[in-house]
Structure formats: C-alpha cells, structure tokens
C-alpha cells in the first residue's frame, strides 16, 4: 500500500503554491511534513487525499486506502461519542468501535454527547475515528493540536501500533512524535513555487501567462 507522488504541483485559489514534489511512503513507515505555516502543507495533504486535483504530476496509491483527518474533527455535538464512532464505522464498513475507544481511552465517555467534551477529548475522538476507518494510509493535518502531553503520547503509541501492522502515515506537524526509526522527514520549504516562467506571455513584456 505504498503512496508515490511524482513531480507534483499544487495550487491554492488558482495560484501555484508548491511544485516538483517527489516522495513515497512505504508500508510500515511514516513521513512527517515540516515547513512554515501557510507554505501549502494542508493543500498538499488535501491533494494527496484526492479532495483537490493537482495542477501537475500525479499521486499514485491504491483506491480506498486513505483516511484523512484535518483540523475540524467532523463530530456531531448532539450525537454521543459511541453514536459518532458507530456512524463512521458503518460508513467505512468496519465492525466494532471498542478498539478505537480503548485506543484513545474514551470508554468512560462512550455515552456522553460529543458537545459535552473538552477540546482535547474531542480531538481524541476525532483521531479515534481513524482506527474505525480500517484504512492503511493515514493522512493527518496537525493531529496533535489542542492535545495535552499524555494524549500526544497516546497518539504516538497508536501511530506506532498502526505502523507495526504495516500501515503508513503522512503527517503534517511541528511536534516530534518520537516515532523512533521508521520515520522520514520532508521539509517542503524548498519546493515553494517560484513565480513561474510560465509560457504564453501576454504580449511582449508579460513574462507569465495567465497564472
């Protein structure tokens, strides 16, 4: 279940943001994306998750392999924790949510309405959803935001377990998750799209086309 990205160019709001990206994520390994805020990490993750078409290049991975998790957790506040998880389990066609509940220590909160959870607990529920998807490739955008140290450790354990079972992860984060040796780091800074030398200048002095 490898993910391969070949000289990818991505744009945000019509303006190219990153270009010439080439990387692969092997099963059992994780790739952490570093780079200043706003450089295009989120756009890259959304393009990998096929929410957004790339401008150039391609993203090759098996269909139905990606579980995407972004800043907003997609939780319904009027539903209880277990109802939320059961919903996602049914959508992804996997059975049982106990693993997810145990993985993020949410058994005690199972019947509480998601609206009544703290930010950290909501975050843990959002990440617990990943376990329910049963998808090998996790694409995560700043997963440890609003998590306390203990929860970050818990999250790191889950990722380690996921990698051991042959899963893989693409994570944009600033925090060192201490995942040990099977982690590569990619700084996307140098791939920033330079104001291009696009073809098709307007007339004479315009050096780019339409952008």
């Amino acid at each position: 279940m490898t993910l391969t990205v070949k000289d990818l160019t991505i744009s945000r709001g019509g303006i190219p943001v990153l270009e010439g990206l080439n990387f692969t994520v092997e099963p059992g390994r994780a790739l952490v994306l570093r780079g200043p805020n706003g450089v295009g990490k989120t756009t890259l993750l959304r393009t990998v998750a096929k929410l957004q078409p790339p401008v150039e290049g391609e993203v090759i991975c098996a269909p139905d392999a990606i579980a995407y998790a972004a800043h907003s957790d997609g939780l319904k506040s009027t539903l209880t924790v277990s109802e939320n998880l059961h919903f996602w389990a049914d959508v992804f066609g996997t059975k049982g949510i106990d693993g997810a509940l145990k993985g993020f220590d949410l058994e005690a909160l199972a019947d509480r309405a998601a609206g009544g959870l703290s930010a950290g607990q909501k975050r843990r529920l959002g990440l617990a959803r990943l376990l329910v998807t049963g998808r090998p490739l996790w694409v995560l955008d700043e997963p440890t935001v609003s998590l306390d140290v203990a929860s970050v450790e818990m999250f790191a354990d889950t990722v380690r377990a996921h990698l051991k079972q042959g899963g893989s992860a693409l994570i944009a984060t600033h925090i060192d998750l201490g995942l040990g040796e099977d982690v590569d780091v990619l700084d996307v800074g140098p791939y920033r799209a330079k104001p291009g030398q696009g073809k098709g200048a307007f007339d004479g002095d315009f050096d780019e086309g339409f952008l």
Partner: protein, 243 residues
C-alpha cells in the same frame, strides 16, 4: 512549470480582439443605426396596430438576442467544463450582463407595445412570462459569479448552473404555455411558417437583428478582454502578496 494555461490562450484572444474589436464596433454601430432609422422613419403604419408596429424593431431583435445569448453562455460553459478554456468561461461571464439587458429591453418594449393592444401594462402572457423567468436565470447566474472569489471554482459552478438552468428554462417555457394561453401575436419571423411579416417590414427587421448581433459580439469581445485584464491583475497582486 507549465501553467494550466496551455489549454487556453488569452494571448491569442487579446491579439485577435485588438484587431477585430474596432471593426466590429464600427460595423455594429452603422448597422444598428441604419436598421433603427430605416424601421422608424421609412416604414408605413400597420393597418391594425398603427405606428406601434415600429416597436418591432427593438422588441424582436432584443428577444432573439436574450435567448441566443443564454445559448451562447451554455456553449461556452460546456467548452469550459470539457476543455478548461479560461477564455470561454470569461466570455460566458462577459456575455451575461449583455443578455440580461437584452431581456430587460425585450420585456420593457413588449409591455409598452402590449399596453394599447391589451389595455394593461403587464399581461401574464406565456411568452412575456418566460422572458421574466429568463431574467431571473440571468440574475442568479450573475449573482453566483459575484459571490465566489476563486476564479476557477466560480467558472465551474456557474457553468453547471447554466447547463441545469437551460434545461429548467425550457421546461418553464413549456409549463408557462400550458398554464396560460397566449395574447402574444404569432411569430413575426418564423422559419417554418410560410406567411411572414410583409417584406416592407421584414427587411429593416433583418438589418436591426444584424445590428444587435454585431453589437453583442463587439460587447463580448470588449468585456471578455476586461475580464482577462481584471483576472490577471488579481493574480499578479496575489503573487506580490506571496512575495
């Protein structure tokens, strides 16, 4: 870094529009003035409708243009969705205001013309009503363009709206006919029916129609170029902010 631009070419469009625009504008002005003057001054009164028949030279061409401009937008929307031609998406955006003005002219002249005949300013006549509905479609289309700032998303959404809108416009055209039989007079010019408006009226009418079509072409060239300039400025400013 090949920008998505090689699918369409504003360069070619700008160059051709630089050449074509002056000529089309002159031709349009001449034809339009010739048609209207001919129709207004040199045609006899109709035995039944008296001089109001002169309104035909505005009502029929504008009505024809109102429908054909929407059809042109439909074609350009399809071109945008299939070929990703930026120019055709911007041409559709440029054409919409021309279309809505043509619809307003058709409605206004239709209402004014109808007033002495039908005794009321507005009769819920199927044909006039379907122009009112077309007016609402234009309004929604233009409003959608204004509501979205990312140019590519706006082009996609408005194209889909135009396609879906066209289907429903035709449905409404039929539904309105069903809903109320018409007061509108028969088609002044129709390809299938043999009897047409008498020649003395129809020749200036053709000239007027040609004038309106040329005016539309000139305006679309001008306004599309404006859209291209506007979009390019926005893109350059965005690039400056990126630094």
């Amino acid at each position: 870094m090949g920008s998505i631009w090689e699918y369409a070419n504003p360069v070619k469009f700008i160059r051709t529009s630089e050449i074509v625009l002056p000529w089309v504008s002159i031709l349009a002005t001449v034809t339009l003035i010739a048609g209207l003057v001919w129709g207004f001054f040199f045609t006899p009164d109709d035995y039944r409708q008296g001089s109001t028949v002169k309104i035909i030279y505005l009502h029929v061409p504008s009505a024809l243009m109102a429908i054909n401009v929407w059809f042109m937008m439909l074609v350009t929307s399809l071109i945008w969705l299939i070929r990703r031609h930026h120019v055709s998406a911007l041409a559709a955006k440029a054409a919409a205001p021309v279309g809505i003005i043509m619809t307003v002219i058709a409605l206004v002249t239709g209402a004014i013309w109808g007033q002495p005949m039908w005794g009321t300013w507005w009769a819920w006549d199927p044909r006039l009503t379907s122009f009112l509905i077309l007016f609402l479609f234009y309004l929604g289309y233009i409003a959608l363009w204004e509501a979205i700032d990312n140019p590519d998303t706006a082009a996609d959404l408005t194209s889909v709206l135009c396609i879906v809108g066209s289907v429903f416009a035709m449905l409404s055209r039929y539904a309105v006919n069903f809903w109320n039989q018409g007061l509108h007079q028969g088609a002044s010019l129709s390809l299938d029916k043999e009897e047409n408006v008498a020649d003395v009226f129809s020749t200036p009418l053709y000239v007027c129609i040609a004038g309106f079509v040329l005016l539309f072409i000139a305006l679309v060239f001008l306004r599309t170029r404006t859209e291209i300039h506007r979009r390019r400025t926005k893109a350059l400013l965005a690039r400056e902010r990126l630094g």
